[in-house]
């Protein structure tokens, strides 16, 4: 039981990091991406390779993952951000589908469907982090770092510029904001943290394959941010906890066959997304409608 809870807590921290990172794009930047699992995956593969081919240092793996995810996203974002938001969403959908194929086919790097197996437990400054509780604290430390950074940035001039272009790109430009630069920085920052989450995930699962980086995963992360409340600090965390506890809670309901739990879970969060958009588009942590 303790092992199960620890595992769940680690996953919560990792997905919390993911949804906090996606919130930078969606909540503060108004940049809608349904390809976040791609950068999660890039980070996971990079982290796994650092651990398997070099040595399993947690910080080195996190750094490599952040760099690879961030740099690749910059290369993709620079051209894609020139187009309107609607096209960006479509492009990100396309990227997600394309990446799933590439992850499956590039077996030399990703191991294909079989994935990369036998990832050793991480080390930190030469000490092996075999204790899951210690690893949990490491995940929480990264999450706390991300939260603190987001909080600082969003209170400062960068956050103001980012939110300004979210609310009106044209007015932001008219006040001298370099919209393309700001968006690219936000995307790089968000995807770099998604990469770190990927590295943590690789160590946590000791195994990575393409199944974890599909459109379904991207949509799950999106749902966490939206349901919790995009553009708020606590919203993504609330959404993460709710959606991670949902399948756990469903296993306690006797009349749902275990094989259907995935579908029932999707059914619930699909409904939640639609209903929230109709009645409370700012999410659970966001402000209620009708005040304006």
């Amino acid at each position: 039981m303790t092992a199960y809870l620890l595992n769940l807590a680690q996953l919560a921290a990792i997905f919390g990091l993911l949804s906090v990172s996606l919130n930078i794009l969606i909540g503060y930047g108004g940049i809608f991406s349904v390809a976040h699992a791609v950068f999660f995956g890039l980070g996971a593969y990079a982290g796994a390779h650092v651990a398997l081919d070099l040595f399993p240092d947690l910080l080195l793996a996190a750094l490599a993952s952040a760099l690879i995810a961030g740099l690749l996203s910059a290369a993709l974002a620079l051209p894609a951000l020139r187009v309107r938001g609607e096209y960006f969403v479509i492009a990100s959908l396309g990227l997600q589908m394309l990446a799933t194929t590439v992850f499956t086919e590039a077996q030399a790097i990703t191991g294909g469907l079989g994935g990369l197996v036998g990832i050793p437990p991480p080390t930190l400054f030469g000490f092996t982090l075999a204790d899951p509780l210690v690893f949990l604290f490491c995940c929480l430390a990264f999450l706390a770092l991300a939260l603190a950074l987001v909080r600082q940035l969003m209170r400062g001039s960068f956050g103001r510029a980012l939110m300004a272009l979210r609310d009106s790109e044209m007015a932001a430009e008219a006040l001298g904001k370099n919209v393309a630069l700001i968006k690219t920085l936000a995307v790089v920052l968000g995807t770099a943290f998604a990469g770190i989450a990927g590295a943590l995930f690789a160590f946590q699962e000791e195994f990575v394959n393409v199944e974890s980086f599909t459109l379904d995963q991207s949509v799950l992360i999106l749902a966490m941010v939206i349901i919790g409340g995009a553009g708020t600090l606590s919203g993504p965390l609330i959404g993460t906890l709710l959606l991670l506890l949902l399948p756990a809670a469903l296993t306690f309901i006797p009349f749902i066959p275990p094989t259907d739990i995935g579908a029932v879970q999707q059914l619930i969060y699909g409904f939640a997304m639609t209903l929230l958009m109709i009645f409370r588009p700012a999410g659970l942590a966001g402000r209620a409608m009708g005040r304006r």
Binding site: G156, S157, F158, D167, S168, E173, L175, G176, K177, L185
Partner: protein
């Protein structure tokens, strides 16, 4: 004195429509120029061509003697050209203070140069803009929650805080109640007294007469007349075009 901003032969077509056709515009320093004309005359399009939000099919724009044709809007803005929008385009989900502060911050990077001193100076500039527009008590409110007149003042406060020397204002005072309007026009006059150059689009001829030192009359994308308010507004031919369209 030579113009701070001058446009030569600006032209823009949408499909088969000549939205703006070979328009020349000169903004002389320290005065208020009003763009007047019926709906669809191309006034807002002209603004968009000057600020770089729309690419011109032909023509040249010079700002402070420098050619800015084809420059990105943010580069033009940083040279000291600010604008407002007919639909205001406030940063709706940000606080009033943040709307104004965003206008004072010139660098689109993770941090601003100049450290604490520059930050303090920017904050003071923002606070002053809020003070002058009467929004200081509302500094913490979200822009989306403001009343109509307050929103208009906020869009002006952003421009004030930006420190721009040339303002392009798109129907800045329309829909204001008489008291607010008086406050608004006083603010514009004070700005001009401080050396700001203003070009505004206005439908309300009372406001035009009250404020404008010079009038440019546009119709169907062409400049029909330019001159002192009395001479342009006194021209029966232009009045027919103006009121004929609106009746």
């Amino acid at each position: 004195m030579s113009a701070l901003l001058s446009a030569r032969g600006l032209t823009r077509h949408f499909g088969g429509i000549n939205a703006v056709e070979a328009v020349d515009l000169d903004l002389a320093p320290g005065i208020i120029t009003a763009l007047v004309g019926p709906n669809g005359a191309g006034k807002t399009t002209l603004f968009n061509l000057i600020t770089g939000h729309l690419a011109a099919d032909a023509g040249v724009v010079e700002l402070f003697g420098q050619k800015i044709t084809g420059h990105a809007p943010h580069r033009i803005a940083r040279m000291g050209l600010a604008r407002s929008f007919q639909d205001l385009r406030l940063f709706a989900r940000m606080s009033v203070r943040d709307n104004v502060l965003a206008a004072t911050e010139p660098v689109s990077w993770f941090w601003q140069p100049g450290g604490v001193r520059a930050a303090r100076e920017r904050a003071a500039r923002g606070a002053q803009a809020l003070e002058r527009t009467g929004l200081a008590p509302l500094a913490r409110a979200e822009a989306a929650d403001l009343a109509y007149a307050e929103r208009k003042f906020l869009s002006l406060a952003r421009i004030l805080a930006s420190g721009a020397r040339i303002w392009l204002l798109d129907e800045p005072a329309s829909g204001l109640d008489p008291a607010s309007r008086a406050r608004f026009t006083a603010l514009l006059r004070a700005a001009v007294a401080d050396g700001v150059t203003i070009c505004l689009i206005e439908h309300n001829l009372d406001i035009v007469i009250e404020l404008a030192d010079r009038i440019v009359f546009l119709d169907q994308g062409r400049k029909l007349a330019e001159g002192a308010p009395e001479s342009v507004l006194g021209d029966p031919r232009l009045a027919a075009i103006y009121f004929g369209e609106r009746a």
